[in-house]
Symmetry: C2
């Protein structure tokens, strides 16, 4: 982990929402800024499926974080005003307890003995970690993608704990198309003989399956429009070199996918990816309403203000889903600002489109009542 | 093959556009209707990537064809007026010569010894087959998807051979997103250990790779909108039965993909799929213009009328690509009817959305000068 990573151990055991329990849970986290004496300036930043808690650099770890441009002194998430905390998800593999962690009952990695994971487990475990750190109330919860689902779940389940809510490129539940994309990614991993029914030996990941899964992931995170502009039909420049095989990479877009996928395979555990991916499919905010309707669940929220952002080229969490969240929050009585952005980078635009994302997020937090 | 399948052998050898030659080429085809005494009522129907020549039933083969509702007496492709011919693509595995055929020089299947395939080879081989059948001139060429690319290539390369042109859900060249989708499908097949570097033994297909590839294919052929309406978040009804494994199928959309993919693996050869898939990536109508611009190439067409259809929910061949084709044909002087359809079935709508496709195609051919 990074030099800035700190750890918190939860009380044991940790009961999982869908059954089963973890005898021990450790969560890895990083923080930026200072907690105020009144402990009222904390912002909890939920991550997407694959990032670690290293959202931004710090003195302890100067390496670039996954939301570097958003977090810091004078930045949109202003560390001179707010205490930002980002916790690696339960089920992940960047310091927090997950399927790749050692099961204390066997001395071996959990693998598929890890109980089924839900967004609710992620959210509850992070709240317990905050309590351990002496934080009972949050100025805001913020999240994109899976992080946005987590932020919604937090605000619905713990309505008295949070004042403001920021939901980016997320939804109250996944579409069947998004489920199909993630299901096929898991299928790619399961089909790799190295997966060994989930119980692969240490250091022997199903790399081929992960490589394929990551490529499909990437395709769902960006947009056809972006790739048309970025790659067009450009060929790779080593095309006619000797040693090339039939069906080798020929187009730049193929080369980009391959390079990114090979990097990813080195850092992420296959089962962790599968558990978190499945949790996204299973999540349904409607489960928190008696009538099963996500809009009814949103009415439980007691936060006062919300910012809902989405991107028009996102087909994993299409823009109508963010509109639905925003409408629901308005009906629930929150002062809600909804902004569809015209970024061409699709679902992952929040990670790259500084020009569109920074001003609207900065504006939200600078006009805050907190 | 079907009882209606006929075969034609081309003169040998058949030189391939991208290098190499085939010592023998056989093409499988089916026909509907009667060729007029003047031999001026033939319509050549190009297929997409995976279908056989069995586009419709007939006395010889009463089984349902892939465009059954479009072809027959009184139908949009009216067999009382037209002689319809559909030829299984070169490179395919439904009776025509392809990578799964026996290489007469070795007595074994070609596999990857099959030379690189292009849309131009498909088109030229079908034209030679027509000549063998005594058909020198076509009333129309018709095609969707890869078939639409083929129809465009035919009309550009053999401008004096065709009067009318119908292009459905196609383009002058693939987008990088479409290339990425097909590249990943091939990657799934290549990653299957059973692929054996392309030289798998008879009857031992890389089934797992094909299954994954087909799922991704299906996802690109339909649309998120359709699946939302059709599957929503419905679960399969065998969910809580004993014997279920972690990460088993849980949602209806997953079950649909699995069932379809398992069927496909039984009928299609993996290498044939890969060759045809790559041909779609490589195709660029701009190769037929000195300036490399597809629009310039379109100006070579001498047909008089064109119908260009596309579907708004298609993200494999997005609607702006059909608009581009239609605009190019208008500039080339063809009387062009362009119609974007609001089908929710995406790229494959032409195979299922009878209500939208039949009237516009029927209208085109009933108002014909032919």
């Amino acid at each position: 982990m990074s030099g800035a990573t700190k750890y918190v151990n939860l009380d044991r055991p940790f009961e999982m929402a869908l059954g089963g329990a973890l005898p021990e849970v450790t969560l890895a986290y990083e923080t930026w800024g200072e907690l105020s004496p009144d402990r009222d300036n904390a912002i909890l930043l939920f991550t997407g499926l694959s990032p670690s808690a290293h959202a931004a650099s710090s003195l302890e770890d100067p390496s670039r974080g996954w939301w570097e441009f958003m977090i810091g002194p004078g930045r949109a998430l202003d560390t001179t005003r707010y205490f930002i905390i980002c916790i690696n998800n339960l089920g992940s593999c960047f310091g927090s307890t997950g399927p790749a962690s050692t099961n204390p009952e066997t001395g071996r990695p959990y693998r598929l003995d890890f109980p089924e994971l839900s967004v609710e487990d992620i959210v509850r475990s992070q709240r317990l970690a905050l309590h351990k750190l002496g934080i009972e109330r949050l100025h805001a919860v913020v999240g994109a993608s899976l992080g946005g689902m987590s932020a919604l779940a937090f605000a619905v389940q713990y309505p008295d704990d949070v004042d403001e809510l920021m939901v980016i490129s997320a939804a109250t539940r996944a579409t069947p198309f998004a489920i199909a994309i993630r299901s096929l990614q898991r299928d790619c991993i399961k089909s790799d003989p190295c997966w060994h029914g989930g119980f692969y030996p240490e250091g022997q990941q199903p790399q081929e399956g992960m490589r394929l899964a990551r490529k499909l992931g990437l395709m769902s995170y960006r947009s056809p429009e972006e790739w048309l502009e970025r790659f067009g039909r450009e060929r790779v420049d080593w095309l006619d070199e000797p040693g090339s095989q039939p069906f080798d990479i020929e187009f730049q877009v193929e080369s980009y996918l391959e390079a990114n996928a090979r990097k990813f395979v080195q850092v992420c555990d296959a089962n962790c990816y599968m558990y978190l991916s499945r949790a996204m499919d299973l999540f349904d905010l409607g489960d928190h309403a008696e009538d099963g309707d996500p809009t009814t669940a949103l009415r439980k929220i007691r936060a006062t203000r919300a910012l809902v952002l989405g991107v028009e080229t996102d087909f994993l969490f299409p823009i109508w889903q963010q509109k639905e969240v925003a409408d629901g929050l308005k009906h629930a009585g929150l002062s809600t600002h909804y902004m569809p952005l015209s970024s061409i980078q699709g679902h992952d635009a929040f990670l790259v489109d500084k020009a569109r994302f920074i001003p609207v997020i900065a504006e939200f937090f600078s006009s805050t009542s907190g």
